[in-house]
Amino acid sequence: MNKRLLALLSVLVIASMALAACGTPATEAPAPEPTEAATDAPTEAPAPAAFECTDAIGCVTVAPGDPIHIAYALTVSGATASLGDDSRGAIEIAIADRGGELLGHPIELSGEDTLCNAEGGQAAGTKISADPTIVGVIGTNCSSEARAAMPLISQAGMVMISPSNTNPDLTNPDHPDAHPGYFRTAHNDLFQGRIAAEFAYNELGVRSVATIHDGSPYAESLQKVFADVFRELGGTVTAQEAINVGDTDMGPVLTTIAAGAPELIYYPIFEPEVALVTSKAKEISGLENAILMGADAGFSDTFPEAAGSAAVGMYLSGPYVDVNNPAYGEFLAKWADQIGGVPPSGFHAHAYDATNMLLNAIEQVAVVDADGTVHIPRQALRDALYGLSGFAGLTGNLTCDANGDCATGEALGVFQLSQAEVDGAWPPPVFWQP
């Protein structure tokens, strides 16, 4: 009985495999029958030769009426959801700006939740790379996600443009974390760390600092850049401590830091840990007067409320978009209209630019057949993005270099939180700009 069942199952499996194998070429190559064309229109010019894909890493073919498929890989749930919601809203606005259509095809946006950790990035990368209809990806939010997802997405021939990955390794050609097809509109942390350190040393006039990271590639490298530049400027780094994601009791680590009596603590970590450190720090004897400074990971509308009154006066280094730019005002109006409220974090403009860059590049390289079929050569798409220069986006004029860095690092600022943000106002006003 069991053997029979097994035999039946294997027959079914084989049959489904065979069917699937037959299915793919049929949809991929809807070449018109040459005889038909000859009999139907004998007097017209001969039909153009069917598109032949000569691209090194293949083409995406979109049949008439089928959507052009792009995906997002963002952290849209949990503690870091404001970061993902912020980017996702901007992507939706960029698509809506085009009426949801590209080259006469509807734009389909599918998404994966990346959870701001390597596991989430891995899962999202696996799912996205398995879907050959996806042309490009907007994501990820956290550098840890990109590190796990990018090898898969790069292997699948897709491009990925990140609105908020800032880890320097991702675009360092000598580092194994850099992969072809990866771009970002976010600043590289080599800029952010330097600006934060210069702000602390020159503007605030502090001479001793301590840093805390959470072991994520983003936080670890950012605090390292910060500490290195601060030492270069002539300051002292009293401690470079670390916590684990998921820790709640920050008292012990802060007490250890207090032993070095730093004037400023820089902790570029995510929610909820950034709020836990903030609310605890002022209670530690020896740190009552220490200046607190976070980074773009804490730049989220839920953070000041979670940290409470301890966040008043705290600084955050992060992405800065010129609020007087009329295009940005227009974007915010669209946000209020389509999504409601204000963007909850700081990388919406970067995500908007990323989406527009991707859609423009698709438009630029796509080959459209007479019947409306669109062919998108993947390597050409990458080349178009690597060659992008002077793209006027919300975050400035973007020019991508050969490593995938498209932002210049000019769009950075330092923000200061006040009681208004703790009571729910967002975003905070910019305090200083390099």
């Binding site: 009791d249 008292g251 004897s285």
Partner: protein
């Protein structure tokens, strides 16, 4: 001669590992203290942080250990009982904060938060026992264990579905903020004092309850032998429900104290404290309430003092990342050299 025969190389290896770790701890502590980087005040602060955190672990651990003592099962859904108490406490606290009640009558408000949280946790535990565990009373021991894990997921994702995935900020209660100066430059945060005292009171009350009340005696009897206890006229089901209620109330209270300290509520918040409390229960000797208290405090203090004391002097950078390594290494070492835990009972044949 007899002892020589029982001698095995595994034992030798374990003793060597144990001795190496002990040396590491002693040398590390000596070097750290030699450096004189930390003042007495800072050591005191670290100990207080550990004590406060440990008190919360201990309160949760009691729930694991009480249920284990009676049913010989690990109630893995206990961490979600803790989370539910914290969540309900959060809703009560937020609404009272908004209406201003908490500012005018802080003591009454805080008592009310505790009562609602403990009641909710207790009700949830009663339901859990009735629906998920009682039907499986006679089943093999692994069955209720798996059910408990399932119940844990069920509760976690019910809360996720009801209240979302985001972290919620607990209101700041002014009454419990600020520091109390002791002597010299020593001081203690009000909230830590409250946590330590509240936990100590509850544990003392529990010890009294188990030792001197009728229900407590019945609990001990059921724990010794269910069928004999039933023959003596004890309603075993009722006692089991009461045990669940006591454990859950303590977990609910722990949830409130945890929120007072860390001001954060999420559906996932029970997992790590639950795991640590379970560790504490095993560390102290599972099934033994004083052991759970001791294990919790031990674990809290080790986590707080350990990284600085043991590792700083050895020049290990960012030692606090290794906090959990220290905690779990300690668990493994204690289980190797004292398999029943610090205060572990000798398991009799009928119990095992």
């Amino acid at each position: 001669m007899q002892s020589l025969k029982r001698f095995s190389w595994t034992d030798v290896f374990m003793w060597v590992v144990g001795a190496a770790l002990l040396t590491l701890i002693v040398v590390g502590s000596y070097l750290t203290l030699q450096q004189g980087k930390y003042t007495t005040v800072q050591w005191f602060d670290l100990a207080v942080f550990g004590l406060a955190q440990g008190s919360v672990y201990a309160l949760i651990a009691l729930g694991y250990t009480l249920v284990y003592g009676i049913l010989r099962m690990i109630n893995f859904a206990h961490s979600e009982i803790f989370m539910s108490g914290a969540y309900i406490g959060f809703f009560v606290a937020t609404s009272m904060q908004r209406s201003g009640f908490l500012r005018e009558n802080p003591v009454l408000g805080i008592v009310f938060i505790f009562l609602t949280a403990m009641t909710t946790s207790a009700i949830l535990a009663i339901l859990l026992e009735r629906i998920a565990y009682r039907p499986l009373r006679g089943a093999p021991r692994l069955v209720p264990l798996i059910t408990a894990i399932g119940a844990s997921f069920f509760l976690q994702y019910t809360f996720r579905g009801l209240f979302g995935t985001q972290n919620r900020a607990y209101p700041e209660i002014d009454f419990i903020r600020g520091a109390i100066p002791l002597f010299g430059s020593f001081q203690i945060q009000k909230i830590q004092l409250i946590v330590i005292i509240a936990a100590a009171l509850m544990m003392a009350a529990l010890a009294f309850f188990v030792q001197y009340t009728k229900t407590g005696k019945a609990m001990r009897a059921v724990s010794e032998d269910k069928s004999v206890a039933a023959l003596m006229g004890i309603d075993v089901d009722k006692i089991i429900v009461r045990t669940f209620v006591i454990g859950a109330s303590l977990a609910g209270a722990a949830g409130v104290l945890y929120c007072f300290m860390f001001r954060i509520v999420t559906f996932y918040m029970g997992f790590i404290p639950g795991l640590k409390a379970f560790t504490a229960a095993v560390l102290g000797g599972i099934g033994n309430p004083p052991g759970a208290m001791l294990g919790g405090l031990f674990l809290g203090i080790f986590e707080s003092l350990g990284p600085t004391l043991f590792l700083d002097g050895l020049g290990i950078p960012a030692p606090y990342q290794l906090k959990d390594v220290i905690a779990f290494t300690m668990l493994v070492m204690i289980l190797i050299f004292r398999p029943t835990g610090i205060l572990g009972e000798r398991l009799s044949k009928t119990k095992a």
